[in-house]
């Protein structure tokens, strides 16, 4: 049964019924073709932003189109159209299948795939979840709270964004899958000033639900206070140390470590091609005992979660590392087929105009049993990093970085003073072998991550407990 909204949004306006879709499939796929899909997408998004205390700009955007992908062996042919209509689609299909010389097969029957489990999010349009004035009031509240928090706050910039996405995937076998995905995000940045020194702090959150989330439990105000707190900490920050030392990472968003250090390296495409530092290492010990890391697209309402991936496959929990041993890769259909395995529901794409690839969903480390206080108390000389900006990895050499935006010096088991942001660098395949303590405080991030790969951004989540790593290079300016 086709989701009514998907049908009304994507198929009905073009008069596409089973017969037309069968013809489209027959024209696109058939003998000699291993896979591929027609990916129909409608996305409406809005963004409201406040600065100088007023909501002075907002934007609304609509995208609609269909991407047609034909896969044969290791080859992919791809074309797309902004126009969902038979003539344009048949033209795109012809172009996409130009990689294959095989004849067309006529018609392929369409069969809808039913959801295999309850939905992880409601199909409601988040843009309609609050009226416009209430959205504005929400941003004004954030502004007011941030300014009231401390007189040193000179600038508050905040934004509220929502996406309502309707996806319909018709694969080469004629299986039809739909998904309706909400996504919201609230972001705050503040600038503080004291004695001519300026620092910033940022905070925010979101996920796959409506805007009401931000009004519950004072969340929006909480983001405002958190941004101010970080900025004020940074006003006191001294030069960061330079060199290799013990590092304690806080819980939650610092899990960007896992995303960079091992996540990307375990994506199926790099491993099929043998270009990842983790290629051919399944079964090897790549992390300390006690470390288990999963990629899980099935967490309710999380930013990185999906009912089905962009190839129509249900997402799942995939164990990447179990008790320190490398267990598995994240796969899309094509890479799974070429590696003789099954998709793990990690085939994702930014839009109909881009090709899907193996991508992470929510990637996190399970909690251990150490008390976070004990972990800090155990460090004689090191760095405690609790907030981060982004990170990046060189898949092939395994070298990765992630940049701390809030960090402290730890001396004799005590947090002594804040230090300026600094980049931490390490080697993915061995950094986790140096984890010596795993906290019992596993936490997921607040819903702020976007992962970029080959120019395509997709929303993701990360998480981890407090971790002690015995030796990471900290890129400050104070050489010992």
């Amino acid at each position: 049964m086709i989701d009514r909204l998907a049908q009304q949004t994507l198929l009905d306006p073009a008069g596409l019924g089973d017969s037309e879709l069968s013809t489209l499939l027959g024209t696109t796929f058939g003998h000699g073709i291993d896979g591929g899909d027609c990916y129909f997408q409608f996305a409406s998004q809005e963004g409201w932003s406040l600065e100088d205390g007023i909501v002075k700009s907002a934007s609304f955007n609509i995208e609609r189109g269909v991407g047609i992908r034909v896969v044969r062996g290791e080859q992919t042919g791809f074309a797309y159209s902004d126009d969902i209509a038979m003539p344009a689609m048949l033209e795109a299909a012809k172009t996409a299948r130009s990689i294959a010389s095989a004849g067309q097969s006529g018609r392929i029957a369409v069969a809808s795939r039913s959801p295999s489990r309850p939905a992880l999010y409601a199909p409601d349009n988040p843009l309609d979840s609050l009226d416009e004035q209430t959205k504005i009031d929400l941003l004004k509240e954030v502004d007011a709270v941030a300014r009231a928090e401390d007189s040193r706050v000179t600038q508050v910039m905040c934004s509220l964004a929502g996406v309502h996405e309707v996806v319909l995937v018709l694969n080469a076998q004629g299986e039809l899958t739909t998904d309706v995905r909400p996504l919201v995000r609230l972001n705050v940045q503040v600038i503080v000033e004291q004695g001519g020194r300026r620092e910033s702090g940022t905070s925010g959150g979101g996920g796959r639900f409506g805007y009401q989330y931000f009004r519950e439990g004072g969340r929006a105000a909480g983001y405002a206070r958190e941004a101010v707190r970080q900025a004020l900490v940074n006003l006191e920050a001294r030069e960061a140390p330079a060199g290799t030392m013990k590092v304690v990472l806080g819980p939650g968003w610092p899990g960007v470590l896992l995303h960079e250090a091992i996540g990307h390296g375990l994506e199926g495409d790099f491993n099929r091609k043998g270009t990842s530092a983790f290629s051919g290492r399944i079964g090897e010990q790549v992390a300390a005992k006690g470390i288990t890391i999963v990629d899980d697209g099935t967490l309710e309402g999380r930013r990185g979660s999906l009912n089905v991936d962009d190839e129509g496959n249900p997402t799942q929990q995939t164990v990447l590392i179990e008790d320190g041993v490398l267990r598995g890769y994240m796969q899309d259909e094509m890479n799974a087929r070429l590696m003789g395995t099954r998709s793990t529901g990690n085939g994702r794409r930014e839009s109909y105009a881009r090709l899907p690839m193996p991508r992470m969903t929510n990637t996190y480390m399970l909690g251990g049993d150490a008390d976070p206080e004990e972990i800090l108390a155990s460090v004689d000389d090191g760095l405690y990093a609790v907030n981060f900006g982004g990170g990046q990895v060189d898949i092939t050499s395994g070298k990765f970085v992630f940049s701390a935006s809030e960090a402290y010096r730890v001396e004799n088991g005590k947090v002594t003073y804040p230090v300026k942001g600094a980049t931490l660098i390490g080697n993915g395949p061995d950094v986790l072998t140096r984890v010596s303590m795993i906290g019992n405080d596993m936490k997921l991030d607040s819903g702020i991550g976007t992962c970029g790969k080959e120019g395509q951004g997709v929303p993701v989540g990360v998480g981890q407990p407090t971790l002690r790593i015995d030796g990471m290079t900290v890129g400050g300016t104070q050489a010992a």
Binding site: F60, E74, Q75, K273, S397, V401
Partner: protein, 462 residues
Amino acid sequence: MSTSPERVSPEPVSQDGEVQALSHSPESLQARVQRTLEAARERGASDVQTVVSHSVGLELGVRKGEIETLEHERDQSLSLIVYFGQSKGAASTTDFSDQALIDTVEAACRIARYTEPDPYAGMPDPAFKAADWDDLDLDHPWDCSAAEATELARTIEAAGFAADERIENSEGASVSTRRAIAFLGDSQGFMGGYRSTRHSLSCALVARDDAGMQRDYAYTVARHADDLTAAEQIGREAAERTVRRLGGRKLSTRNCPVLFAPEMARTLIGSFTRAISGPAQYRESSFLLNAVGENVFPAWMQIEERPLTPRALGSAPFDGEGVRTRNRPLIADGVLQSYTLDSYAARRLGLESTGNAGGARNVTVAPGDKDFAALLAEMGTGFLVTELIGQGVNMVTGDYSRGAAGFWVENGELQYPVEEITIAGSLKDMFQRMAAVGTDVDRRGNIHTGSILIESMTVAGD
């Protein structure tokens, strides 16, 4: 190109039917601009500005001699900004149906009913608008069929594999070509548009030795296919860049001079242009706040913006608001001359638009008198950075800390590859401590600079 209605010239068609033909004519795009302007005025907008754009492209990737991906691109979009007095709304769509045009205009108007009046909002001063402009020589369609692109990509990759036996794997070679057309129109009567092209070749290779694998890449990009570096050269360069990274080691933590290779030097100048942008200034989010008139660089430094350079990748005859662009100094004798402002930022700061809606274009650092080898010799002993990873730049404070890879240099000669280290400093201080800019200018982007030598930075390693 002039403001008179554009002549439609026959589109080049290759023999086997591959066409780099735009499927919307200039006339139809201009008509869409006009309809959008009219629809917004009919709904009460006091002013409106709209951009209609369209592009077609082909991207072909070959890996290990076989086609890996063949992507046909065809994009279109319509975006508009409406003003109701001092209130503003914006909307965009990729749907070119008449109904979508109306829906998008109404969405922008609806938003403007809710946004609050901003005293600085509005259109640019008509006196600054471009009235006529020269053809900047940006449109050179490349008659390259998928079959020809395949052969070219195979040639690139094969040259890479042949260059060194340690090249054992490939992420592929790719050929891409894209042609775009865009028209900007507004309720003050501005209507301008032009076509442009962008073509590139690239290759990423993987080498292995006992210590592990390394990957690197090479690319060339230009408006005209004739300006691209030869395919074989791209393959060889990718191989050389990859193989030379094998056996990388860490350095011990130290302070030392750092030489940024041109493509890395570009990122330093990129931080400079971000810091002098209008939003960074009026949001007080810049480490170069209110710095016009200050010595930001040493006295020998000259940096210009050259948006009118023919065939250059960043060129444009007018900015995103129709304001004329002009070649002008940003840094003269080390002193900051101007910010880069659109009309909004200009009003906020009590200044005039500098034609920078959409950013700075062809930011050009005047080369010194030393080539790359001479710069290595001038550095003597230090770190040559050829790759940077991570963000690690705090634009508010100028604090700089990024992951780096490159080479340790002694007596002006490369000693061994270096990886898994960071380089750190403060951008304000790094700018002051620039010792030289090389003649090895990289023009493959919107920032044109040679290598940059910085007297001292902190290297963190073992």
